[in-house]
């Protein structure tokens, strides 16, 4: 609504309310995945026993999201469709290898498709979603239990702040060795970014100080942030480096 009032987004001639569609609500286990309905709010993410058990990184992101009043209405589907490079659930969803479940009803027939979240974002506010499609759910594979997961958000104050940078890390940890490492960054590129070079620097390795430094340096080199009123590009790069070190220190 603020975006419409500020003239950035025009109201469509047709407003569609999705709230009464039951399939868009709730979190459920579906085989090897969690299906998180598009209308699940930040508060509901924090309260869901399934999300707490399998995707604590999403709970961390929801907990640092805006304010109580906003968390009670902001949906995960809206956050994904909004496609802000700083969108706080997008970084955890990338680190979790989530899929976006899209549905459409072009001529009376319900059709659906699933898109890996890494392919979904095309630019600030731009996604692969076609005009006639809605996001029905986010699907998150349930990985092995006990994985390391951490979301870190840097802002100038704790509440109601858009991330200057954010970092998400998910990895298996067997006897100190990391595998299936996923690292994602927010607010450092036009879209939320998978840190492939950072992941490669960590995969199969023991988290020694040298490995952490190499990974943090790789992260600094692979992000490409912009200067804006929240932070300069230089500051963002430095913070990606320093804060990734901090996050990885917790994984040792």
């Amino acid at each position: 609504m603020p975006q419409s009032k500020a003239g950035r987004v025009a109201f469509e001639p047709l407003l569609l309310g999705l709230r009464r569609i039951p399939e868009l609500h709730g979190v459920a286990r579906d085989g090897d995945s969690l299906r998180i309905g598009a209308l699940v709010t930040m508060t509901e993410l924090m309260e869901s026993a399934l999300v707490r058990a399998h995707c604590p990184i999403l709970v961390e992101a929801a907990d640092q999201f805006a304010s109580d009043q906003v968390r009670n209405v902001a949906t995960i589907g809206g956050n994904v469709c909004n496609a802000s490079p700083a969108g706080d659930t997008l970084v955890p969803l990338l680190a979790l290898d989530a899929e976006v479940e899209l549905v459409a009803k072009p001529n009376g027939l319900l059709t659906g498709r699933r898109v890996p979240i890494g392919e979904f974002f095309k630019g600030p506010g731009k996604t692969l979603r076609a005009r006639h499609e809605i996001v029905a759910a986010l699907r998150v594979p349930i990985g092995v239990p006990g994985r390391f997961m951490r979301f870190f958000k840097l802002g100038s104050r704790p509440a109601l702040d858009i991330s200057a940078i954010s970092i998400g890390v998910c990895a298996r940890r067997d006897a100190g060795v990391l595998s299936e490492v996923r690292v994602a960054f927010g607010a450092v590129a036009p879209v939320p970014l998978r840190g492939r070079a950072t992941e490669a620097a960590l995969e199969g390795r023991q988290l020694t100080e040298a490995v952490i430094e190499t990974a943090a340096a790789a992260a600094r080199d692979e992000v490409h942030p912009i200067d804006d009123f929240r932070a300069s590009a230089w500051y963002r790069r430095e913070m990606v480096h320093n804060m990734l070190k901090k996050v990885l220190a917790d994984a040792t």
């Binding site: 609504m1 603020p2 419409s4 009032k5 109201f11 407003l15 309310g17 709230r19 508060t43 805006a66 304010s67 109580d68 009043q69 906003v70 009670n72 209405v73 704790p158 509440a159 109601l160």
Partner: protein, 156 residues
């Protein structure tokens, strides 16, 4: 000019039927259509919490809510808390602790504080401070507001 839409919802415990413009916010509906001006307009973009109301029991920003989206739901405004015992204790504590100066933020704080007390956070000041992150006050500096809420939350 879009046509008005007829909606029905529960407002402060009683049924309400009203015709609203589809682009109208719940805040505008409350203040301008229904004349309930206790809910304040501070920023219009979810930052200040002056417009906090309870939607199906949860605090939300009325300025970010479409009026049409109230259809079939339950809305409580500060006027609806007039005889609510918890809100009454919160109000009394705000007076005792000097947590009100200009008063513009107070209805929003009382709405939010009532739900915090009901969530049994106890007198944990950090939890209270986090609970009021979505409410801005330009006068008091928050300390007295937190004191007031803590006093109610810890008295059982």
């Amino acid at each position: 000019m879009p046509l008005d839409q007829e909606i029905e919802f529960t407002l402060n415990g009683g049924p309400r039927r009203v015709a609203v413009n589809p682009e109208m916010s719940a805040l505008t509906m409350l203040r301008e259509t229904l004349g309930l001006t206790g809910t304040k307009y501070g920023c219009g973009e979810g930052e200040c919490g002056a417009c906090t109301v309870l939607l199906d029991g949860r605090p939300v920003n009325a300025c970010l809510l479409f009026a049409v989206d109230c259809d079939g739901r339950e809305l409580v405004t500060i006027e609806g808390l007039a005889s609510d015992p918890v809100a009454g204790r919160v109000q009394q504590a705000f007076v005792e602790y000097g947590a009100v100066q200009c008063g513009f933020c107070t209805p929003g704080f009382v709405m939010q504080a009532k739900t915090l007390v009901e969530r049994h956070l106890g007198a944990d000041r950090n939890a209270i401070a986090r609970g009021i992150e979505g409410n801005l006050c330009r006068c008091t500096g928050y300390r007295k507001i937190i004191d007031a809420i803590a006093s109610v939350a810890s008295a059982k």
